[in-house]
Amino acid sequence: MQLFPCPFCGPRDETEFQFATEAGKALPEPAGDVSADRWAAYLYLKDNPKGVTREVWLHSTCGEFFLMERDTVTHAVIGSRAMGGEA
């Protein structure tokens, strides 16, 4: 069982967490000017990197979203921190 570090609760069991999305996506605006392709890219396209990745996770136990940096090959966690307004 792997432990993930919640910035609020400390290291907890991986089963308490849910992957939300890759970090760094910005809502395209203003909505009226956003083409279907840009909107689709925002909703669906992913970097899906092999190696280091930055992601938004939910700790279901405390209900907080946070940022986690980890490696998708080794599963090593590099760090996690609270969201500061950005994603």
Binding site: F19, D37, A40, Y44, L45, K46, N48, P49, T72
Partner: protein, 417 residues
């Protein structure tokens, strides 16, 4: 020299001490130029090469595989073949594959051990039976076989199922697809490889594609660990590594890679002659020809390129098995492994031109692309040979994400991802 397989050649080789067999395919050096190059020597890549040669007469073809043929998901999957999907587009695709599977052993002159033993999808409540009835109706309207079973009929198909009236997930009824079944996964890869090789296709193993050759905005070939290979048209069939190669080609895909794991038990006497899936537990299992119980379930919920699998999902899958077949608590598990699957938001594949002209996609099969290998190969070959969609692949084009016309099997048939 024995090239064609038959009962006669088996007998002849038995008498001659098995000295006349030839390798099933050659190990050629890559040529500098091909008419068509396919990246990925899994089932889909190999089938694409075969149909390019067979259906379109394009024989100057190479399949480039970074490791060994069939060593990806094709050699790691639990081999269930079915077409119990919800949307007409999906049934057209998967039923085409199933129909091709029905004649594949003969077509390839290779025993793929396709056993149409049926898939039993068990429902546990009145509400789930309504969903089951809806699925059966949809399948029948879409022209494939499906039956709604009563609890007694379901238990008759798999007598060892949990009969405890206080079970957490009682047998309330089931969906039955009798034409569904299992096949030998390695044999599908090897059969296509051997048949493609026989038509002149070069299968190049131990050769990783590291980049794309782009000329005048068009894909003109690939860079590999064994040099540059130019190609008139390029196909991409690398499953969980699709995003890695897309990044090199300069675009992104609606794909997230996850681990999907499976396990087998020690071999036991015959006790289960269909494939059983529980709606409630998400665990499915069947008995292999060797007697092992093969068990699988849902995805690990952590995006991953590790072909390993995390313990929580093992616990979920095995507790599901014990709920379904309490007597299997006596089994010892022998092996566990995982593959690297390419999951798309609507749980449907991506087949079509990529944003880089001259490069075509066959990916996004996620947890369910073994069953579709003959169709995926047929359709990618059609695209590469003609530059245009076959009617069956059209709905699965990348453009569905911008038009909003998703083929949402995650919602439609409850594919658990």
């Amino acid at each position: 020299m024995t090239r064609r397989y038959s009962a006669w050649t088996l007998a002849k080789e038995g008498l001659r001490g098995q000295t006349g067999w030839q390798p099933a395919w050659r190990t050629p050096e890559p040529k500098p130029t091909y008419d068509a190059v396919i990246i990925g020597g899994g089932g889909h890549g190999l089938a694409t090469a075969y149909y390019l040669a067979k259906n379109h007469g394009i024989r100057n073809v190479a399949v480039i595989e970074k490791a060994w043929l069939g060593g990806g998901n094709t050699g790691r999957n639990t081999t269930t073949i079915r077409s119990n999907y919800f949307y007409p587009e999906s049934v057209a695709l998967y039923d085409f594959a199933l129909t091709l599977y029905e004649g594949l052993g003969r077509e390839l002159n290779y025993n793929i051990m396709f056993s149409q033993r049926g898939v039993l999808t068990v429902a546990h409540s009145e509400g789930e039976m309504e969903i089951a009835a809806r699925t059966v109706n949809a399948m029948q309207i879409n022209g494939t076989d499906a039956e709604l079973l009563t609890p007694a009929q379901a238990l008759d198909k798999a007598p060892l199922l949990n009969r405890d009236p206080r079970a957490r997930y009682p047998v309330f009824g089931a969906v039955w697809q009798g034409r569904a079944g299992v096949a030998r996964h390695d044999a599908v890869a090897w059969g296509y490889a051997r048949a493609a090789d026989g038509l002149g296709v070069d299968i190049i193993q131990d050769c990783e594609v590291t980049d794309f050759l782009v000329e005048n905005g068009r894909c003109a070939g690939v860079e590999t660990t064994r040099g540059t290979i130019r190609a008139g048209t390029v196909g991409l069939a690398v499953a969980g590594h699709s995003s890695v190669l897309a990044a090199k080609a300069g675009f992104r895909l609606p794909i997230q890679s996850y681990s999907l794991q499976a396990m087998v038990s020690e071999p036991v006497k015959p006790c289960l002659d269909t494939v059983v899936l529980y709606m409630g537990t998400g665990t499915y299992l069947f008995q292999s020809d060797k007697g092992e119980i093969v068990v699988g379930g849902g995805l690990d919920r952590v995006p991953s390129y590790a072909q390993r699998g995390n313990p929580p999902m093992q616990r979920t899958v095995l507790s599901g098995m014990l709920e379904m077949f309490p007597s299997f608590g006596q089994l010892r598990m022998l092996r566990q492994w995982a593959g690297n699957v390419d999951v798309v938001p609507d749980s449907s594949p991506l087949i079509g031109p990529s944003p880089l002209p001259g490069l075509y996609l066959n990916c996004g099969w996620g947890t369910g692309g073994f069953k579709s290998i003959p169709a995926g190969g047929w359709l990618l070959a059609h695209l590469m040979a003609t530059g245009a969609h076959h009617a069956i692949s059209r709905p699965f084009d990348l453009d569905r994400f911008a038009t909003g016309r998703l083929v949402d099997e995650a919602a439609g048939s409850g594919i658990a991802h």
